[in-house]
Symmetry: C2
Subunit: 352 residues, 2 copies
Amino acid sequence: MALDDRKKQVLQAIVDDYVTTYEPVGSKSLIERHDFTVSSATLRNEMAELEKLGLLEKPHTSAGRIPSDKGYREYVDSLMRVDDLTESEKKEIEERISESVDEVTDILKNAADTLSETTGFVSLALSPRLQGSYLMQLKILMIEPGKALVVVVLSAGVVKDKVVRIPNFLTNEQLYKISSAVERHVAGKSLDEITYITLATSAKEESEIPESMLNQVLYEAYTAIKQADRLDVYLQGEHRMLSLPDFSELSRARDLLGTLSKDGMVAGYVNEIERTARDEGRDDTYMIRIGQEIALEGLDDCSFITTTYKLGDTISGNIGIIGPKRMDYSKVISQINFVRKKINDNIKRIYE
Amino acid sequence: MALDDRKKQVLQAIVDDYVTTYEPVGSKSLIERHDFTVSSATLRNEMAELEKLGLLEKPHTSAGRIPSDKGYREYVDSLMRVDDLTESEKKEIEERISESVDEVTDILKNAADTLSETTGFVSLALSPRLQGSYLMQLKILMIEPGKALVVVVLSAGVVKDKVVRIPNFLTNEQLYKISSAVERHVAGKSLDEITYITLATSAKEESEIPESMLNQVLYEAYTAIKQADRLDVYLQGEHRMLSLPDFSELSRARDLLGTLSKDGMVAGYVNEIERTARDEGRDDTYMIRIGQEIALEGLDDCSFITTTYKLGDTISGNIGIIGPKRMDYSKVISQINFVRKKINDNIKRIYE
DNA sequence: TTTGGCACTCGAGGTGCATGAGTGCTAAAA
DNA sequence: TTTTAGCACTCATGCACCTCGAGTGCCAAA
C-alpha cells in the first residue's frame, strides 16, 4: 500500500482523533486540531480517496469518517510509533506487579490483573504450552485406600497433579512399586511422545502386581500426564468493557461477554494466532488482530493484542488484552511490553 | 405480619404477575389474569393498604404496583409454594450434571455451570470450609534442588498442595526427615489449632538438620497448611445478567458486574449469610437474601439464593445463584435443591 | 364493605422542526 | 494539475409538543 506522505499524515491524524474523541472526524475539525497547511476542501478530497482505498468509512452520509479495520491495520503496521512508557507509568505498573509470588500461575494472574487495570480493558493470560516439555518425575502418593495423588513434574519445574481413584486394596508398597516403575520408563520423555501403550507395556514388565489392578492405576496416571498440558486461560476485567462507549449498546456488550465467557474459544483463538505467527516465521514481540480479522462472534469491534512470555528456552505462553478496536494502540502496546518484561523477570527469579 | 386471606391472595397474585411480565401490575390487569370475585376498585383499596404496610410500592403515580423487598420477603416466607421439579426438568439437569468427575472442585464447577444455564442467572460455588477439618498427611516432595512440593491431605480426603522454595543444598533424605517429623506432629490436629510455634518447636526436637535450613522449610510447610483452608469462589454466567430487563440500564449492569468481579466480596458475603444462619440455629435447606438486605453495592436489584452441600459430616460449603429479585423464586429454589442433591450424591460417590 | 364512576397523573411513543456538522461537486484561483 | 472557496444537500440529534392509555385516588350510591 503506497500512500503518499500527506495521505499517511491524514490517516494518522484521523485515527488519533477518533481514538481520543470517539467521534467520526470531519475535514473541518481535522484542520482545527492539527496544523495542516492545506484547506479543509483538500482534506475532503484526500479523505474521499482514502475511503476508496478502503482505509476509511462513513457511519452515514452526513457524518465524518472513521478508520476501517484496514485503516487501523495500516496504522499499526506502518504509521504508529511505539514509545517507551514514562517513568511514572512504569512505576505505577511496578507497584501492582507483586514480587512475592512463587508460582507461575500466580505470576500470570497478577500480571493480567495489572494489565486489565492499567489499560481498562479485558486482559487474558494463557498457561504455558507444555506439550514440548519433558516429564522429569512422576509420583503416585497414597492418600487413603482407594485414592491417590498423581504428581507430575515437568522440565522447567512445572508441577501438575490430580487426585485419582485406585483399587481399594492396593497397598502403599505396591503403589510405590508401580509408581517407580512407571517413572523409570517415562522420565525424560516429552509429553507428546508418551502414549498409553508405551506406558502400559513397559510398566507391566517390571512389577509383579496383578494386571487388572495395574491397569487402572496406569490409566489414571496416563490421564494425569495428559491433562498436565491442558491450556488454561485466565480472563480478567470483563466488566470494564461496559464502561466503554463502544459497548454502550447493550446487545453488543451482551454478545461480547457471551463469547468471552466461553473461555475455551478465546484460548483457542489466541493459541491459533501464536501458531500462525510461528509458522510464518515471524517472531514479533507482540501480535495484533483487529476487528473482523478476529473470527469470533461479538468481537467485531474488538482488537486482540498479545505477547509471549518465556518459561526457560523452549516453553512459552501468551498474555495480552482484548479491547475495543478504537484504542490507543501504541500506549497499550508499550504497557503490554512492559508487563511482559516483568513477567519474564519474575519467572526467571523463581527458576534461577 | 397478620395479613387477611384476601391480602395474601392479592400480594401473591401481584408477585406472580410481576415476575412473569416485568410490568408494574395494576388493579385491572390483576382482575383480568386472576379470577377474583371482587371488583377492581376493591383491589385498588387492598393494594393501597398493602402499600401502607410497605409490601408494595409504586414506581410512579400513574403506574401499577410492584412488590417491595419486604413484599418479596413476605412472599417467600409465607406465600410461596415450592414444588418439585417435573420429570423433564429433572432430566434436563441430570443430563448436564456429569458423573464422571473425580474432584470436588470439578463437581462444584460442573454443578454451578448447570445452575447458571438452567436458571439463566449467575451461579456461584464456594469451596468447602475446611477450617474444622483435620490434617491427615503432610508430605514434602523434592522437585529439584531448591524447590519442593508440599502436599496436605485433609480429612474427608481433600488434597491441597503448593510449590515452595527450600534451601538449595537440602538433600532428599534431609527433606524426608523433616517431612516425617512434621507430619508426626501435626497429623490428626485440626487446621485451626496448628500454629507455627507448635509446628516449629516439635519438629526441631527430632531432626538433626541445621536450624537455619529447617526454619525455611517449616515456614513454607506452615503457609501451605494455612492456605489449604482458603475459601475459593467460582462465579459463572455473569454475561447472562445482561439479557435481563432488570439490567437493561447499562449503569446498573456495570455496577453489578463490577461488584461481582471482586469475588472475595461475594464469597465473604455468602459465608457471612451461612454463619449468621448457623448462629441463629437455623438449619434451612436454602437461604434467601433479597434486594437491600444484601449490603453489596450494585446488588440492590438482586437476590441471593444459596444452599449448603456436605462433605462428610462436618465439612460444608455453599452453592447458589445471584439473580434479579424479580425472579420465580419457587422455581429457582426447586432447581437449586435438586442440584444440591446431585452434588451431595456425587460427593458421596467419590468418598464412598 | 363493595362498587361504579370520574377526574387526574404521567410515562411512552409519535410527529414536526430547527440545528449543525458533515458531505460532494463545481468553478475559479494558484 | 492541484488547491480552494462556495454552495446545495444530507441526516443524526435534540427539543417541544401532542396523544394515548393504563394506572391512580376518592366519592357517593348500592
